[in-house]
Each structure stands twice: as C-alpha cells, then as structure tokens.
C-alpha cells in the first residue's frame, strides 16, 4: 500500500509544487530516509513497514529543518503520520519551518501501530493512504501512576540508571532544534559525568520537552538502554494538558505553547 502516495508525490514533483519530497526508500536492502527529486525512483518509495507496521520510521521533520535552513525559498514535501503532522504544526509554532513552504502527504496508521504507540490521534488531518481509526489512551502512564509514590521514584531511578548518555534521545528528536542544548549546560548538569547525574539529566530533558514533545516515540526506539522515555514524556504532556489545556500539535499553529507565555500562575 503505497500507490496513492506515489501518485501524489509524482503529481507534486511534476507540477513543480515541491523541490523534493522527503520520504522513505527501500535501497541497498535497507529502508532509510530519502529525498525524491524527480519521479524516476518513486518505484522504491515505501511507508516504513518492514516487518511490523511503522518499524522503520525516521525523523523526517528534523531533516526537513536542515533542508529549509539552507533553502528557505524552496518548498518541500514530506511524508507524515499523525505524530509527524503534530510535529510539523509545533515546528510552525516555534518558527522552525514555514507552513507556506511545506506540503505534507499523509498516511493514517494501522491499528497495530496505533496501539503499540498508545497514540491519541493516529492519523493526520488529511491523508491519502490508510484508514482513520480511533486513538488509544496512555495505558503505560496509568500503569506507572498506579504505583506508590516511593515505588514510582524507584522505578524511574532504576530506568535512568541504565543510561549510557549517548544523547540519542535528543539527537533523534524532531522537536530538538535548539542551538544550545540544556543537556550540555554546566549550570544544569555535570556535563562531563558518565553515567549522567540521576535523575537530573533525564528530568532536565523531560521538563524541556513539556509543551514540545509530540509523542512520536523515536526517542524510545533510539535508546540503546530501552529506557521508556516515551512514557515519561507522555506523562509530562498529560500534566501540561491538565494544567494549561494545551497539547503540542493539537492546537492551531498560532497558539503559543503555555511555557512560552509569561502570565499569572495557573489555578490549582
């Protein structure tokens, strides 16, 4: 199932609406990110389902930022799932991409992937491939929340203790676009230490993801220590939603993230 996507991309390229289309390509026996610039290699375009649905997703939005920074006048197409679209919207809000210069080509995720991701909205607003299915709630968060407070702390400390400080969670993250990273700031953490300070290193990132994480799960997939980062950031997103009624990627691009606005403290 990628014929409709291929046809759409072909049309965009032929009509000159985009300079290139960032998608996934089956090449050299591997599935990886690829910029399609003419229709000649569209035959190899894939949607990132190798053995299981969505098992070869890549941070295409992050690559799009690299392209847009060097070619701000050009328009690019990009393959988006529900999470990627939330990412695009949030990157528009943060002025990292220009909505006039991005053409999203959407796919809706199958049930298996949506369930594994516990995705609230496993489809973009508009999509050309796939079928719209209902979202899933954050069961992994509920499971941790059901523990006693002391047990919860113990759980997270044990998970963070596995960290080898590869910075993969940051490096893969499509929402990590800062030029100066908090995780390299001496004022916040002892940057030279391995393993990293527990739990400060991970909590610093978790707080930094508040109002920004769009729950794509690429961090968890990139973690060599299998730390359930996605569950942590889902919880952070829940807190921001409860306190400020804001969830990144669901609001319109004009709505600023609550932690960027200086105003009175929320009522408790």
């Amino acid at each position: 199932m990628s014929d409709k996507i291929k046809a759409k991309v072909k049309e965009l390229l032929e009509e000159g609406k985009v300079k290139g289309f960032l998608g996934l390509r089956n090449m050299n026996g591997h599935i990886g990110p690829y910029l399609f610039v003419d229709g000649s290699d569209l035959e190899d375009l894939v949607l990132g389902d190798r053995q299981r649905p969505g098992d070869t997703r890549y941070p295409l939005n992050k690559q799009l930022i690299h392209l847009a920074r060097c070619y701000p006048e050009e328009s690019f197409g990009v393959l988006v799932r529900g999470c990627d679209e939330r990412g695009l919207k949030t990157l528009f809000t943060w002025n990292q991409l220009d909505p006039e210069k991005v053409v999203a080509v959407g796919i809706a995720c199958p049930q298996e992937l949506a369930e594994a991701c516990e995705c609230l909205k496993p489809y973009p607003d508009e999509f050309v491939e796939g079928e719209k299915i209902e979202g899933y709630s954050f069961d992994s968060v509920a499971k941790v929340d059901s523990m006693e407070l002391a047990g919860r702390l113990e759980h997270w400390l044990a998970e963070f203790a596995k960290c080898i400080k590869c910075y993969g969670c940051r490096d893969i993250c499509p929402m990590c676009f800062c030029k100066e990273c908090s995780l390299e700031s001496e004022d916040l953490i002892h940057t030279g230490d391995i393993p990293p300070e527990n739990p400060i290193f991970h909590l610093t990132r978790a707080v930094h993801m508040a109002g920004r994480c769009i729950d794509c799960g690429l961090c968890s997939e990139a973690c060599p220590a299998d730390i359930p980062l996605r569950t942590l950031y889902k919880k952070v997103a829940d807190i921001i939603d409860q306190q400020f009624h804001y969830r990144p990627g669901y609001a319109s691009a004009d709505e600023k993230p609550p932690l960027n606005i200086l105003s009175e403290a929320p009522e408790h």
């Binding site: 026996g29 591997h30 990886g32 990110p33 997703r57 890549y58 590869c166 893969i172 990139a222």
Partner: protein, 135 residues
C-alpha cells in the same frame, strides 16, 4: 541542490553499526542510525551519533607529518614512508626485531589488520601486535 542520505558503517569501533550520513551539497551535516541494520537496530553510542563532525573537520590530518626542527611539518607519502622505513631498519639493526611493536586498529578492515600482522611477523619479525581498543 543535492541532498543525499548515504548508508555507511560507523568507523569508530569494531561493532559495525549502520548509519546514514546526511549530505547536503557535499557537506556532511548529520548522522541518522539505520533502523534496519541488524547490529545496531536504529541505535548508536555518543561517538557514532557525532561521526559526521570529524569527517570534514578542518583539524583532521590529511597528509603525513614529520617533525622537522621541533615542528610537525606536512610531507608527501613517499617521504613519510622512506623516513619510516629507514628508522624502522635502524632500530631493528641496533636493538632487534622485538624492539618494535605494531598497533592495528578497530577502525580499519579485517584485511588491513591482516596485512599489518603479516608485515609485523614476516617483514619485521616480531609478534608484538596489538590494537587500538586496548589503548
């Protein structure tokens, strides 16, 4: 505009993690771990993640250096090899084969490591062969 994602193997250690290098107009600008590589399965260590930084780094050595009058000076490969051969011969004659040791590398291919072992044993006559992972 020329944007490519080039599939390659991390050269930092012997694991052989697969990664894509993001190349924009000839400049290497990023690293993305390969999800379908059976070795690393979309993960990398901190060194692998920053591998794009050293390849075109201005401080990277691009020519052999010989210290002349206390200063490291860029020289051609012929001069560097002639100098090394003459010094190795000198040391071997004065102190014997086992006064020389060879350090191979996890960053090169099996074939290259085989060659340095062969060179050490057959040409120089020593079993002193070790590798960079023990440094």
């Amino acid at each position: 505009m020329d944007y490519r994602t080039v599939l390659t193997t991390c050269s930092y250690c012997g694991c052989g993690c697969g990664l894509y290098l993001e190349v924009l107009d000839g400049q290497i600008i990023g690293t993305i771990p390969c999800k379908t590589n059976p070795i690393n399965q979309g993960k990398l260590c901190v060194k692998g993640w920053s591998i794009h930084e050293f390849i075109q780094h201005p401080s990277r050595l691009r020519q052999p250096l010989i210290r002349k009058n206390g200063t490291l000076t860029e020289v051609g490969w012929d001069e560097a090899l002639d100098y090394t051969v003459s010094k190795l011969k000198e040391i071997k004659e004065a102190h014997g084969s086992d006064s020389i040791a060879f350090l191979a590398s996890a960053k090169v291919t099996n074939e290259e490591n085989y060659l340095i072992m062969k060179f050490a044993r057959a040409a120089v006559g020593t079993n002193n062969v070790d590798h960079c992972a023990r440094l």
